[in-house]
């Protein structure tokens, strides 16, 4: 009962935030509201007992990406540009996509269903074996680090590659070298 109540409140706040983001054209407010949106999703993850995911969402979504978006606004303009075409076609696309997604959820197992495919595959095996094999309370860390260490190595490499990509695109090594030379002369 309390869970349902909290979920309803959080989801309606999420919807209000999303609508406010759509209505705003001051981009500073939009960025701040997207941070609020991330924080609310993090709270929803907490009610779903996915604390590790909530942690990541709060740190990355509400923290880092807000700062990066603010940095982007500083490089561009603080006010949204009015689109020249009508909003009708995007609206139809969004409605159709949303309807398809809702239709897709009809086939999904109910929340907490013990017969859900996610519970029947290797998941229960990991849960059963972690106390003997690794003996740490946080099974998420055990799965990510040990049973699925290969995948986590891949993810770390992806983060590394993404960082290199941003550096190549944005930092402009040659320009910086020229700036430093100017500083040295000055």
């Amino acid at each position: 009962m309390t869970d349902t109540f909290i979920n309803i409140i959080l989801l309606s706040m999420l919807t209000v935030t999303a609508l406010a983001i759509v209505r705003m054209d001051r981009l500073f407010a939009v960025v701040m509201l997207s941070g609020v949106f991330s924080l609310l999703s993090a709270l929803l993850f907490v009610t779903l007992d996915a604390v590790d995911v909530a942690f990541t969402e709060a740190a990355v979504g509400a923290g880092i990406s807000t700062v990066l978006l603010l940095g982007t606004i500083a490089l561009t303009k603080p006010v949204e540009k009015r689109p020249r075409h009508t909003a009708l076609i995007p609206f139809i696309v969004v409605c159709v996509t949303g309807a398809a997604l809702v239709y897709g959820t009809l086939d999904m197992p109910a929340f907490g269903d013990p017969n859900a495919p996610a519970q029947l595959h290797v998941g229960s095996d990991y849960l059963a074996r972690t106390p003997d094999d690794i003996d740490i309370p946080n099974v998420v860390t055990a799965i990510l680090g040990s049973y699925r260490g290969y995948d986590t190595l891949g993810e770390t490499a992806v983060v590394f590659t993404a960082g290199i990509g941003v550096l190549l695109l944005l930092s402009g090594l040659r320009r910086r070298r020229e700036d430093e030379e100017e500083e040295d002369q000055a």
Partner: protein, 147 residues
């Protein structure tokens, strides 16, 4: 360099240490509580980013220079992959942490998780700070009324 915003500067100085301490807690307590290398890396980078926002990019680059950021990005992946290579050299599978302590596999797993989570944290810290530097470095400063 911004010389106004006294309250922001004082509060930031108080917060930065706490944020780094919390990042280390999330990093090395990941076996027992929510969080791990990725979250810890993000929190650690937030400490540098907030310092950079309040005191200016030039100041934070004195603490954590750009060449060091680039090195830490690669170092984390090397720590992670190096653990895998080490276990292969010991005659075990790639990333089988039993190799780190053959007499007591559970202790080996604990040690292995600690090392690879540290690797993840180092890379994520480096990448997040590098991205922030790349964004913030393109524009010297924004005056308050522009917002």
């Amino acid at each position: 360099m911004i010389y106004q915003h006294l309250i922001l500067r004082v509060v930031t100085k108080m917060l930065v240490g706490t944020i780094i301490l919390f990042a280390l807690y999330v990093q090395f307590h990941g076996d027992f509580s929510p969080g791990g290398g990725f979250q810890a890396g993000v929190i650690m980078s937030v400490a540098f980013i907030i310092y950079g926002i309040v005191f200016g990019l030039r100041t934070v680059k004195k603490v954590y220079p750009e060449w060091l950021v680039h090195k830490t990005m690669a170092l984390g992946v090397l720590i992670f992959a190096g653990t895998g290579i080490a276990s292969m050299i010991m005659g075990y599978d790639f990333l089988d942490y039993d190799a780190l302590s053959p007499d007591d596999p559970v202790a080996g797993q604990h040690l292995g998780l600690l090392i690879i989570e540290f690797g993840v944290g180092v890379t994520v810290t480096g990448v997040m700070v590098a991205i922030y530097y790349a964004f913030a470095g393109r524009n010297p400063s924004i005056s308050d009324k522009d917002w």
